[in-house]
């Protein structure tokens, strides 16, 4: 079952609203990277785990410098006030708890805030995969947001009762932003706070494995 919902850019826009001014932020590969388009001009400083603070927009053409890439291997620009540093310094910031907000993509999230993102067993890689900085970022984040499509390409729920893919971390996810909904992970369970216009809570529930708690002030997603 698949419903039409927000584009990847609009998921990123909605998630960007959850980042308070004055935050140091790290964005993962995929939809999270698109958030950088929506925070230009705001008082938010992007950290890139390759070793950079105050990362600017993507660089094109003459502005490309092969010694200046982000952690997704995209050429970037440096904003005034940027700093470069080595990997030990970078992960001291990350693991040491300096990231106010971390936004990651995910293959699955469960109702207790565990998430899986580093390995897809179906790819047949004999138990290995790309962890990158995801586990350090998850463990060190003051606030961990997940942006992803609500279901897989095949229509299977990605918000599940229990992870069937290898976990990245346990109990750390605070909020989930999908094309269909905004969901908060609470000690009582998953709280449905916002919904794509035109859908009912039952529609969202039908593509979500765990039971959703419908927020008393649930509303349509506003962009």
């Amino acid at each position: 079952m698949k419903f039409e919902g927000l584009s990847r850019e609009m998921i990123a826009l909605r998630a960007s609203r959850e980042i308070p001014d004055g935050s140091y932020v790290n964005l993962g590969i995929g939809i999270p990277t698109l958030i950088s388009n929506w925070i230009e001009g705001r008082d938010v400083i992007l950290q890139s785990e390759i070793g950079m603070l105050m990362t600017g927009s993507l660089a094109f053409g003459e502005n490309v410098d092969q010694d200046l890439i982000n952690a997704s291997c995209q050429p970037v620009t440096a904003l005034p006030g940027s700093a470069y540093f080595d990997i030990v310094e970078s992960f001291s910031m990350i693991r040491g708890g300096r990231m106010d907000v971390v936004v990651m993509g995910a293959l699955q999230v469960d109702e207790t805030g565990d998430y899986a993102g580093w390995a897809n067993p179906a790819r047949g890689l004999m138990g290995v995969g790309n962890i990158g900085g995801s586990m350090d970022l998850a463990v060190g984040a003051k606030k961990l947001l997940i942006t992803m499509e609500h279901v897989t390409n095949g229509g299977q729920p990605k918000i599940v009762k229990e992870l069937t893919y290898p976990a990245t971390t346990e109990g750390k996810v605070d909020m989930i932003f999908t094309d269909l909904a905004v969901i908060e992970v609470t000690p009582q369970g998953l709280l449905l706070r916002e919904i794509f216009p035109g859908l009912t809570p039952q529609d969202v529930q039908s593509v979500t494995e765990p039971k959703l708690i419908i927020s008393p002030d649930m509303k349509e997603i506003e962009l």
């Binding site: 010694d67 982000n70 030990v88 790819r123 004999m126 463990v139 290898p166 971390t169 346990e170």
Partner: protein
């Protein structure tokens, strides 16, 4: 103490079969590609390449050649495979990993950074929260089942941590923007990444530098890697390459 070698071939001449070599760089940034090419030309085998974040994904021609020549026993990395499954399916390295011909050991990136830092600082092992709640806290992640050694855990002040060991390579290949004859190095932009800590962690560090200068030309305040960590310096051209891992 002049550490300059006249060629990359000369700088790596004593690397034996079976060596563990740290490879600096993060995807395409700061990868010592000229030293990797010399390693291919030399043809030494049974190598362990200890990486940080995909320098071999960022140097695909060199990786393909190393795989083709059957020079690799093992790769250690946090992000050693293509992100895209379809591209990975055509990648000779991924095929060798699937077939168990090359061992791939995967760690979280910050844990790898700290494993090199511990080696550099004379610390044998450390406890970290990273990986708790995942398979990382249970066992070593490897495509070879016999290598999946169990890890030790410990509760410290009510929280769970996992024990990780220092990773001291025999050699390190690093890429710097400027170096002097004493081995003092300065990196550029985000090409710094794993290079300084690998330089400090390895027994013999070999630096390829885009600009070779005389002692004193890099101001003492501007040195990122002090020369004490660097045994050999070799001048290389500034290569241009495609910035992509897709």
């Amino acid at each position: 103490m002049d550490k300059v070698y006249s060629s990359v071939e000369e700088a790596i001449a004593d690397i034996p079969d079976g060596a563990t070599i740290a490879i600096g760089g993060f995807f395409t940034a700061g990868v010592p590609r000229f030293l990797l090419r010399a390693l291919i030309a030399k043809g030494v085998k049974n190598l362990t390449l200890a990486c940080g974040c995909g320098p071999l994904v960022g140097a695909p021609e060199e990786l393909a050649q190393l795989v083709k020549n059957k020079q690799l026993k093992r790769v250690i990395d946090s992000y050693g495979l293509y992100r895209s499954a379809s591209k990975g399916a055509k990648d000779p390295f991924e095929q060798a990993v699937r077939a168990g011909e090359i061992e791939l050991r995967i760690y979280p990136m910050g844990t790898l950074a700290e494993r090199y830092r511990a080696a550099a600082a004379g610390i044998p092992a450390f406890y970290t929260p990273t990986g708790v709640g995942s398979v990382v806290e249970d066992e070593l992640i490897s495509n070879i089942e016999e290598k999946r050694k169990k890890k030790e855990r410990r509760n410290i002040l009510g929280k769970r941590y996992v024990l990780e060991y220092a990773l001291p390579p025999h050699f390190a290949f690093v890429h710097a923007y400027i170096g002097d004859r004493l081995g003092n190095l300065r990196y550029r932009g985000t090409a710094r990444n794993f290079n300084p800590i690998m330089a400090a962690a390895a027994g013999v560090t070999i630096a390829e530098v885009e600009n070779l200068v005389e002692p004193g030309e890099i101001a003492p305040d501007d040195i990122h890697t002090p020369g004490i960590y660097v045994k050999r310096v070799v001048k290389v051209p500034r290569a241009t390459f495609a910035i992509t891992i897709d």
